[in-house]
Every structure is written in C-alpha cells, then in structure tokens.
C-alpha cells in the first residue's frame, strides 16, 4: 500500500474534526454534482482567527481525508493566512497526488472552506 493510500484510509477511518461546531459563526455546504460528494464546513471565527472548525460529509474516502488534514491544519490560523493553503498543500499532507479524475474529491473541502471564510469576512463588521 502506498503512503498516500495509507494516509487516506487512516484519515477516512479516523477523521479529525468531523462533526458540527458549537457556536459556529459560518456554515457552508459544498458538493461535487456528478459524483455526489456532499460536505458541510463550519467555522467559529473570533478576532480574525479560526477558533474552531469542523465538517460533516457524505463523501468518499479521499474527500473525507482531505477535509481531515485541512481542518487540522487551519485550526487556529488567521483567516487571511488560509489563502496560502492550496491543492498542492493537501497533496503533500496526504503524501501523494489523487488518482486521475479524482482531483475534485480532494479539492472539495478546500473550496468549501474558502467560501466559508469569504462569507465570514463579508459578514464581519
């Protein structure tokens, strides 16, 4: 088994930050319309930082693994610094690139997180 596959399975079986966030200040749903992956990313943003982050998903192992490593990474980060996180970071965190045609699965959590942060910034006083 490759390191990538082992990492995906480990995060799929034991996902970090799965579940709703108490006192979430923003909640955004994302979907891959053709494969049917569905995810909800919730944040509690305080003083420009991600105080808490969680996700709920009916999604494939790759999507859940990506959400798991991503939420671990951004917790405590300033919302502006999250802009530096990209697909390459996720690939690196999982130890490899997703199989051809599965890139959207790995990117769905990041895309949804970015939209959540954008909404949070829009709502900021």
């Amino acid at each position: 088994m490759t390191a990538f596959r082992a990492a995906v399975l480990e995060h799929f079986r034991h996902p970090r930050n799965r579940g709703p966030v108490d006192g979430a200040t923003v909640s955004i749903d994302g979907a891959n319309p053709l494969c049917g992956d569905r995810i909800r990313v919730q944040l509690r943003v305080a003083e420009g930082r991600i105080a808490a982050v969680g996700f709920t998903a009916d999604a494939c192992a790759l999507c859940i693994a990506a959400a798991s490593v991503l939420t671990e990474h951004v917790r405590g980060m300033s919302t502006t610094d999250v802009a530096a996180v990209d697909g390459a970071w996720i690939n690196n965190a999982l130890g490899g690139e997703p199989p051809r045609g599965r890139e959207r699965c790995a990117l769905l959590p990041l895309d949804t997180l970015r939209r959540a942060i954008a909404q949070s910034l829009d709502a900021a006083p």
Binding site: G36, R38, A57, D58, A59, C60, A61
Partner: protein, 349 residues
C-alpha cells in the same frame, strides 16, 4: 373511500350519496382470500365504491343485505357459511365462515358516529400516527378511536369499556385487526396504520423501478440522492418526494418508525456508511443495502470497529432482496419489495 378503507366525506366518490353501507370483514375461519379488515362500500345509489372487495359469492350476499340496510338504516352482522363449492371459488380450501359487519353511514352528517370516527382516524394517518378504530360488531352504533400517539376519540358507551379497549390496542397495533370480547359484547378492533414509507437512497435505475412498483403496493416513496441530475421528476414521476442534499441528513430527518423501510441502492459507501451510522439504532422496520456478501462483510467490519454490535449490524439485509435470481433493475426492485413485504408481515426477520 381512502385506499386503506376509511370513509372520507371529501371523497368525490361520495358526493351526492346521502348514505352508504360500509361492509367490513371482521372475522373468518379457513383460508380467506382477503384479510380481516377488508372493506367495501355499497352506496344508496347502488354504486360500489372503492377497490376492495371481499370475494365472489360473499360479495353478492353483502350487497343484497347492504341494499336493504341503506334504505332502512341501522347495522347488522352478517355471518356467511361457505360450503365446499363456494369455498373453492373464493379460495377457501376447506370451507369456513366469514363474518361481515354492515354499518349505515351518512358521511356528510357531522353527528354520524362512524363517519366522525373515520375522520379522526384519517387525521391521525395524515400526521403519521397509527390508530385502532373500535366498534361493536352488532347492536347500537358506537365508535372509539385510539391512536399510537396517545390521541383518542369517541366512546363505546362506558368508561370501563373504553379503558378495556384501550388496554387491547397495543396488541392490535403490533399485529392485525381482530374481534375481541369485552364483557359479553364483541368488538371489532380495526388496525389503521399509515402506509409503509419506502426511503430509496440512490436515484439510479433500480430506484426508478422501485418507485413504479411501490406505488402498486400503496407504499409512499421518498427518493434521496446527493446528485441533482439524478433525482429529477422526469426520472421519477411516481415518487412521492424527491430529496437532494446530504443523504444521511435527509434520512435522519425522516421520523423513524417500524413503517419506514430504507433501501440503500446507491452502491456507494459514501452514502451508505453515514446513513447506517444514523439508522442502526433507530426503530425503522427494514434496512437493505445493495451489494455482494463480501461488500456487506467489509461494511459491517468498518461499523463494528466504530462500536456497533453484531445485533445492530444484523439488521442490514445485504445482499438486498429475496433471492429470486433476478438480474435486471426491475427484477432487483421486485426482490427488494418482496423482502420488505416479507419482513413487514413477519415471514422474514
């Protein structure tokens, strides 16, 4: 008349009918072709309403008796013995007796005891509750309705009788309609339960066949998928509801009762695992999952590692459906529905 035999004053078929006779099969010995609770309506105009009949020779005698009753009023218990020839014709293999309760009902009169009880039971069904409608099988009219959500209506004439009837309701709800004796009088306990709700997860070909066939079985169907292009009205003209979103959340928001059957036919673990996590400890009547035995073992292993017990995991029927050797989507759908009916009727665990 509703599909499960309730008189509904709003039914267009009752318009212009000042009175009808409701005929209910309340008891039968031998192997009847219809189950106890089967109903037929004979209208004053001579029309027969509804699609439920009681069977060949019995029908004729019921209609004749009903014609007399609808004119003069009242109620009676019709006991019909069947000799061997008649028994053969209606499917009784060794003769027997049927008892049919006949009641004259004025559906549009607010003070009609039976019509009012039917209206109350109909309202219970509409909110998802099951009800038992209790009536004396002969003598003066009375009706008492007890719902599984605690609501009740009407009376059998004395608090002690109502209490005794209430004590019998749970047993009827758990099994089927039947006659019970309270004191020296016989009462018919008519079990009126909402239709089975079939939740279909995965809006593919099997789901399309399921919705078509489930309609014939008077099941309510809810099709669930995360993909908007699959769960469309064009593909599912017979579905009662189409739900697109996060499937596990949609399923979790459907009240869990024994009358809910869930067919996981997406063949995709990303839906099945989250849904099973939510359902395995809920009192739904049936859970089936498409897939091979090997796939079923793998899914159970994952869930067992998460703390689900073998008893909980054994609730999942996988491979889904009775083994009838089918391969096409329609044949698989048929086998799934057959299994749901078998589980519902207690023929299969």
């Amino acid at each position: 008349m509703s599909s499960i035999g309730l008189i509904d004053p709003r039914d267009p078929a009752l318009a212009g009918e000042p009175a009808v006779v409701l005929a209910t099969l309340v008891a039968a010995t031998g192997s009847t072709s219809k189950k106890v609770g089967a109903k037929m309506i004979v209208a004053q105009s001579g029309r027969l309403l509804g699609g439920v009949t009681i069977g060949g020779c019995v029908d004729a005698q019921v209609i004749e008796a009903a014609d007399a009753l609808v004119a003069r009023g009242g109620r009676r218990l019709l006991s019909i013995s069947l000799d061997d020839d008649e028994a053969w014709e209606i499917g009784l293999t060794c003769g027997g007796t049927v008892e049919v309760m006949l009641e004259r009902v004025e559906a549009n009169r607010g003070d009609d005891v039976v019509a009012s009880a039917h209206g109350f039971a109909g309202d219970a069904l509409a909110r998802g509750a099951a009800a038992v409608l209790v009536t004396p099988v002969d003598g003066a009219p009375a009706a008492f309705v007890v719902c599984d959500d605690g609501a009740h209506f009407g009376s059998l004439g004395a608090a002690a009788i109502d209490d005794a009837a209430t004590g019998l309701v749970a047993g009827v709800l758990a099994s089927s309609s039947r006659v019970e004796t309270i004191g020296d009088r016989r009462y018919f306990f008519d079990r009126i339960a909402p239709p089975t709700t079939l939740v279909i997860v995965g809006a593919g070909q099997i789901a399309m066949s399921l919705t078509r066939m489930a309609r014939e079985l008077e099941m309510r169907t809810i099709v669930v998928d995360g993909r908007e292009r699959y769960a469309t009205r064009e593909r599912f003209p017979d579905a009662d509801e189409l739900c697109v979103g996060m499937p596990s959340e949609i399923v979790a928001n459907i009240p869990s009762t024994k009358r809910v059957a869930v067919a996981l036919v997406a063949h995709d673990y990303k839906y099945e695992l989250p849904i099973l996590r939510r359902l395995l400890r809920e009192p739904v009547g049936y859970i089936g999952m498409l897939g091979s035995k090997k796939r079923g073992v793998a899914m159970r292993d994952i869930l067992r590692d998460e703390g689900f017990t073998d008893d909980e995991l054994a609730r999942v029927h996988t491979p889904i459906g009775l083994d009838i050797g089918g391969r096409s989507a329609a044949e698989v759908a048929l086998s799934i529905l057959a299994e749901i009916v078998a589980v519902r009727s207690g023929k299969r665990a």
